[in-house]
């Protein structure tokens, strides 16, 4: 079928074409523009679901862009085309990213209506560009395509952060753009080092060559690239842009930035596990584990005195990144023979990536809804919203329990896997993780009490629109589904992804 054969390229090209055509389509009216955005994202979601079903059946899906036969990658063993690769981990991550983009578009149907004087067609153009960039980032098989799509993602999200044109949002966007530009230049430097040594840019071909001959140049390139991707994902030494950016962006943009964080972590794992698998120094795994533990600690500690709701969620996001790095770093330390508790840690890390996206997105959408109905951002001002909208309180409580890792939400399963396996590895890190969860729960209980219970808010409170409620209910459904049936998710989605990550031979053999 044509759709399946061209699926990776279509998943990137359809949002891209929709983004480029949005200024023209929006001349025809508001409703047509909104429908255009949602329909193109829904079509891309359908393509990604079909790709995912094909890939999770076990075969690596390789696509050369613009070739007459799309699966012909190389003539004579030297790959010269731009190649998009979808194995189990890529399919999982791209499915998550596309679903979040679709939910963000549905949410912004009503949320952005009152800001129409700021130019909503530019907003939707940037949103679709961000979705296309995320797809490209998750499906790439080539280092330079990686650089291009990271820049696409940085530029469009910087534009979206500054959308509410207030002084603070420009400051947050400037800070984000400077840090992202530095990270991308460091990434390009590392890619240039690798190109200078091997003469190729293809990830699988370089993985083949690295295992045969490695020297200090590879370690230098690896450290440059990993530090650039850590910059982009906002873990501890370079987390300063996260709270400001999460505070200033509109709520649906923040959930897409959250997905970008996880996508950059995915790219880092792809580089560490599949490309540099045999020559990885053990220090790299230790570095990621220690930075993860520090992220948990710093995120939770700095989240306590915050008054602005989205800024607090930004710090909580820093802490959640720490959990993913704890789990996957333990798996990294045990490369190249990952088994037993290291495999459980890696699966827990990947599962927590998905759960993290779901819970933090739900909490962010709920925070955005609170802002929409009361027009206040300070949690000391609002109160007693549970009387006005009970459904919102229930959804907020679901997300709050999920982030803190309580059963029966999805966060409990992934956090339990991380705690158990990291405890075998080094008990101190696991204890830091558990303490972090407890403090997160305390912080969020305080917020819930002050926002939803207590003295009712004296200002005017609007009704929650149906489209926003629909988007939040979809997220809550998936959180509960992953919590009540975690073994379904593990068998179908997570374990193939973890297997694909620790098995670089399958990745290389599919391409070369």
């Amino acid at each position: 079928m044509i759709l399946l054969e061209h699926a990776p390229a279509l998943a990137i090209a359809v949002p891209l074409l929709a983004a480029l055509a949005t200024p023209l389509v929006s001349k025809a009216g508001k409703r047509i523009r909104n429908l255009w955005v949602i329909l193109s994202l829904a079509f891309a979601e359908f393509v990604v679901i079909m790709l995912g079903r094909d890939v999770l059946a076990g075969n690596v899906h390789v696509y050369s862009v613009g070739a007459s036969v799309p699966s012909l990658t190389s003539t004579g063993g030297f790959p010269i085309r731009i190649i998009l690769v979808a194995d189990a981990m890529s399919a999982l991550v791209s499915l998550a990213a596309m679903s979040i983009a679709l939910l963000a578009a549905i949410y912004s149907w009503r949320f952005m209506e009152e800001h129409h004087s700021l130019g909503l067609d530019k907003f939707y153009t940037l949103l679709l560009l961000l979705a296309a960039g995320m797809m490209g980032l998750s499906l790439t098989g080539d280092f330079f395509t990686l650089f291009v799509f990271i820049e696409v993602v940085s530029i469009s999200s910087a534009g979206l952060i500054a959308f509410f044109s207030s002084g603070e949002s420009f400051e947050a966007a400037f800070k984000y753009m400077v840090i992202s530009a530095t990270g991308s230049l460091l990434l390009l430097f590392g890619i240039g080092l690798l190109y200078g040594k091997y003469g190729m840019l293809n990830m699988a071909a370089i993985a083949n060559e690295v295992s045969m001959q490695h020297s200090f140049l590879d370690i230098a390139a690896l450290s440059l690239m990993v530090s650039a991707l850590l910059l982009k994902s906002g873990s501890v030494p370079v987390h300063m842009w996260k709270p400001d950016a999460y505070q200033e962006a509109p709520a649906q943009v923040v959930i897409m930035m959250l997905t970008i964080t996880l996508l950059s972590l995915y790219v880092m794992f792809r580089i560490c596990f599949s490309v540099f698998s045999l020559v990885l120094p053990v220090t790299m795994g230790w570095l990621i584990v220690i930075l993860g533990a520090m992220s948990v600690f710093v995120g939770v500690t700095m989240a306590m005195p915050q008054r602005n709701l989205k800024r607090l969620i930004g710090y909580a996001a820093v802490a959640e990144i720490g959990y993913v790095m704890l789990g996957a770093g333990t798996g990294l330390i045990a490369m190249p023979n990952v088994s037993g508790f290291a495999m459980q840690a890696l699966s827990g890390g990947i599962f927590h990536m998905i759960n993290d996206v779901l819970d933090l997105s739900l909490m962010l959408l709920a925070a955005g809804t609170v802002f929409y109905i009361t027009r206040q951002q300070d949690i000391n001002e609002v109160g007693g919203l549970a009387h006005k909208s009970g459904y919102l309180a229930v959804l907020f409580m679901i997300s709050m329990l999920a982030i803190a890792g309580m059963p029966p939400m999805g966060g409990f399963a992934s956090k339990l896997m991380i705690y158990e396996s990291v405890y075998y590895f080094n008990p101190l890190l696991s204890i830091i993780g558990i303490l972090g969860s407890i403090m997160l729960l305390a912080i969020f209980v305080k917020i819930f009490a002050s926002v939803f219970l207590g003295v009712p808010y004296k200002g005017s409170v609007r009704q929650v629109p149906k489209s926003m409620m629909f988007a939040m209910c979809v997220l809550a459904f998936f959180i509960l589904f992953f919590g009540i049936f975690p073994n379904l998710a593990l068998d179908l989605l997570i374990t193939p992804a973890a297997e694909a990550l620790i098995n670089p031979q399958a990745y290389i053999g599919g391409v070369v």
Binding site: F144, F147, V148, E151, S154, I155, A158, G159, A162, S165, S166, G167, E168, F170, E171, A172, A173, F174, M177, V178, A181, T182, S184, L185, L188, F189, G192, Y195, G196, L201, D244, P305, Q306, R311
Partner: protein, 112 residues
């Protein structure tokens, strides 16, 4: 001894990084990012040079030994991306000046 383009690359990247960290004026930070971008572009181009070769263009080419064209394509892409990034940052700097009245990076109201 390292050949000259690579020494220039190291100097440019280090200047850019240190200026970005230590300078307070927002425009100087943007210039530092641009300088660092120029350093990385120079690095990419000088990777493709072979001794005694000409430009990789077939139109009226003097001889067939040519430098590598792939890093030149990468550099062109990187130049275009850097232009967009610097334009965006300068716009933000101009708008910050409108709202705050100052371009000093230490006089901010946002950080808590």
């Amino acid at each position: 001894m390292i050949s000259t383009p690579f020494m220039a690359v190291v100097v440019l990247v280090l200047f850019g990084l240190s200026a970005m960290v230590f300078k307070r004026n927002l425009i100087k930070i943007v210039m530092a990012v641009h300088v660092m971008g120029s350093g990385v572009n120079l690095f990419l181009i000088s990777l493709g040079y072979r001794a005694g070769s000409t430009a990789p263009i077939f139109t009226n080419a003097p001889k067939l030994e040519m430098a590598l064209p792939v890093p030149q394509a990468l550099t062109l892409t990187s130049i275009v991306i850097n232009i967009a990034v610097v334009a965006l940052m300068l716009t933000f700097a101009a708008l910050i000046y409108e709202h705050y009245g100052t371009l000093d990076a230490r006089k901010r109201r946002l950080l808590e």
